[in-house]
């Protein structure tokens, strides 16, 4: 609770009241920061809350502006998954947040069934923070390559220059293999799937794309 008391008192967004009525304790708290209303909800019910906000007449938050995540420098604070919503009819923005404690599994329900635009946004959050989205149709890395093994770049435990040394990064780049460039589906279409080494094929078949070493436990593990 880092907001000033004045901001706390200002949390009288009509959607917040309606959410509290509909969901009760699922709405853990609400604040206002710089004029933006932020609602914190229980991560296990995020999809229900967003579906309700999207489809309920009078709310109509039909436009998903953005999905992102925030990790604070304070290691005790949970990671937040941030959903920026907008009602195109009422021109009303709302920010919904779900907190994921770092000692628990970093998992949350995917909202691709509500907005197809969430597909790449969730992939990016997965790529950068390692948060897994349950029921996501295609949860692969998006900005980093699929065999990227250094971890999740936007985590605070990730050093700015990367986890591997420059020479190791160079070595990996030079030793890159075909699976680093094509997904398994693509390899099977190209009929290259049977030509790759057996161990690589096994790993692909198991759904393992790369081995990602656990970061040294600075934050108490994930």
């Amino acid at each position: 609770m880092t907001e000033s008391p004045a901001a706390q008192a200002g949390a009288t967004h009509p959607s917040v009241e309606a959410l509290r009525e509909a969901f009760g304790d699922t709405v853990t708290r609400a604040t206002v920061s710089c004029g933006d209303t932020i609602v914190y909800v229980d991560a296990s019910r995020i999809r229900d809350v967003l579906a309700w906000l999207k489809d309920t007449p009078g709310q109509d938050y039909n436009y998903l502006v953005d999905i992102t995540a925030v990790e604070y420098r304070d290691v005790e604070r949970p990671i937040e998954v941030v959903y920026n919503l907008l009602s195109l009819e009422r021109k009303q923005p709302l920010r919904v947040k779900a907190e994921l404690p770092k000692d628990g599994p970093l998992e949350i329900d995917s909202v691709v069934v509500l907005w197809r635009g969430a597909n790449w946004l969730e992939r990016e959050v997965y790529d950068m923070f390692g948060i897994r989205f349950r029921d996501h149709p295609d949860l692969r890395r998006i900005l980093m390559w699929e065999t990227y093994a250094e971890g999740y770049p936007l985590r605070k435990s990730f050093p700015l220059r990367g986890r591997f040394s420059r020479s190791e990064q160079m070595r990996q780049a030079l030793n890159a293999n075909p699976e680093a460039h094509y997904s398994m589906e693509e390899l099977s279409i190209a009929e290259a799937y049977h030509n790759i080494p057996a161990d690589m094929r096994d790993r692909l078949a198991r759904g393992e794309r790369a081995k990602i070493p656990e970061p040294p436990s600075e934050t108490g593990g994930e």
Partner: protein
């Protein structure tokens, strides 16, 4: 096997027989006494082709893996990230003003509007009210950026479909804007125009007159391009009915900017969540009807004209006065003061060494960039460096709809559809 159509292929002929007909090479098996030539099984095998990342029609380092059935696109898998520079990570180690050069390098076709967006988001976070002159100058910067970005889009898209002339004409016009941009900021590409609380510099002498003259002259070129393309049968044939997204789909894909408006959704941040006093300018927001490539072209074309209207109004109302807020904690003191006045020197030192401290909190500020809704999201823990700096990349989110749009179209249409998204990989990959 008897239901298979029998065909006579005249390809691969070895010559003509005594009746003057081409000799065909028999295909398939002969069943019984009747000579039946069977059609070979076509269309069962899908082909995989790889386009990019080094390909002129992908508009940057975008790689598309396309599954084709004959010439029809079955599936497109875009691969991005070749230009990923980790700006969001870098931003966590930089002061707010130090982020502005990073924004230049994102949407490098419209750097000034990126600069403005970042400054506005930081000012929202810090609660700074900018001066009137600064507001108008920022509007000018945004609209100049929108015009040059749309000009690049129009020129390169026309080239993708085989029309070379618009590219040359429009790049000539773009050059004039670039000269103005260079006169103002000293740089053509990496402008770094804004500062938190103001601007890097005021416009130079003669800037207003030159911009005004260009605003008068430029619509003539636009009209010529309009004549070349808008009712051109080839252009219409290549763009109409291609890559259609309905309004519902466009909203569901979180599209923004001209992509969303071409599908008939009247959402423009300048009108709906106004900033920089956009609500006081008189301009229209063009809306498409069909949501195809042609409508995206029409919407962007009209947006250029509307941007000229805004530019003219902004030049008319440009007030005198300071461009920076009067706050020594935010704006660097004059160099002469910093060298002679103790207090100014301390402020100068603190700003350069420690940066501007933002209060605890968070702010999301969207602007209408040329590609769509460009939003900056800051989370601050009270220090001079943001905890989290998130860019809502319009081009990235628009590009995510490409697989849906291209399904079932021809491979050549995929190029048109990809061009219509108006991606810039610096912003997609960040």
């Amino acid at each position: 096997m008897s239901e298979t159509r029998s065909v006579e292929l005249s390809v691969g002929t070895t010559g003509i027989d005594e009746h003057g007909r081409p000799v065909t090479i028999p295909l398939g098996v002969r069943t019984g006494s009747a000579e039946v030539e069977h059609e070979p099984e076509l269309g069962s095998e899908h082909m995989l082709i790889n386009i990019g990342p080094q390909h002129p029609a992908t508009h940057g380092v975008l790689r598309l893996v396309v599954e084709l059935d004959g010439e029809v696109v079955v599936r497109v898998v875009p691969h991005i990230g070749y230009l990923h520079s980790g700006f969001e990570k870098l931003g966590e180690y930089r002061h707010y003003n130090q982020l502005i050069p990073l924004t230049d390098r994102m949407d490098y076709l419209a750097p000034m509007s990126n600069n403005v967006g970042l400054a506005l988001a930081a000012e929202k976070l810090m609660g700074i009210d900018i001066t009137e002159r600064c507001k108008v100058l920022r509007v000018i910067a945004c609209e100049m950026s929108r015009i040059i970005s749309h000009l690049v889009w129009l020129g390169t898209t026309a080239i993708d479909m085989g029309a070379f002339t618009p590219f040359l004409w429009l790049f000539q016009e773009r050059e004039h804007v670039y000269n103005l941009q260079e006169a103002w900021t000293g740089a053509r590409l990496t402008t770094t125009l804004t500062r938190v609380g103001g601007l890097m510099a005021d416009i130079p002498d003669g800037f207003e007159d030159e911009l005004r003259a260009w605003c008068r002259k430029f619509p003539k070129t636009l009209d010529e391009v309009d004549k070349l393309l808008t009712r051109n049968a080839l252009w219409c044939g290549r763009t109409q009915g291609i890559g259609i997204l309905t309004a519902e789909e466009a909203i569901n894909f979180s599209l923004s900017g001209p992509m969303l408006r071409a599908s008939g959704v009247p959402y423009d941040v300048r009108k709906d969540l106004p900033y920089l006093d956009y609500e006081t300018y008189d301009f229209e927001v063009p809306i498409g009807e069909n949501g195809d490539v042609y409508d995206r072209y029409l919407v962007r074309f009209e947006e250029i004209r509307q941007s000229i209207r805004i530019l003219e109004q902004a030049l008319d109302r440009l007030p005198d006065g300071p461009i920076n807020v009067d706050d020594p904690r935010v704006i660097l003191p004059d160099k002469r003061d910093a060298m002679n006045d103790m207090e100014a020197m301390i402020f100068h030192f603190k700003q350069v060494m420690e940066g501007i401290e933002a209060p605890v909190g968070e702010a999301y500020f969207p602007i209408e960039g040329p590609k769509g809704e460009l939003g900056y999201y800051f989370v601050s823990d009270g220090t001079a460096k943001p905890v989290r700096w998130r860019v809502r990349p319009a081009a990235f989110i628009n590009l995510a709809s490409l697989p849906k749009m291209a399904e079932g179209h021809l491979l050549s249409d995929l190029i048109a559809i990809n061009a219509s998204v108006d991606i810039v990989m610096g912003e997609v990959d960040r």
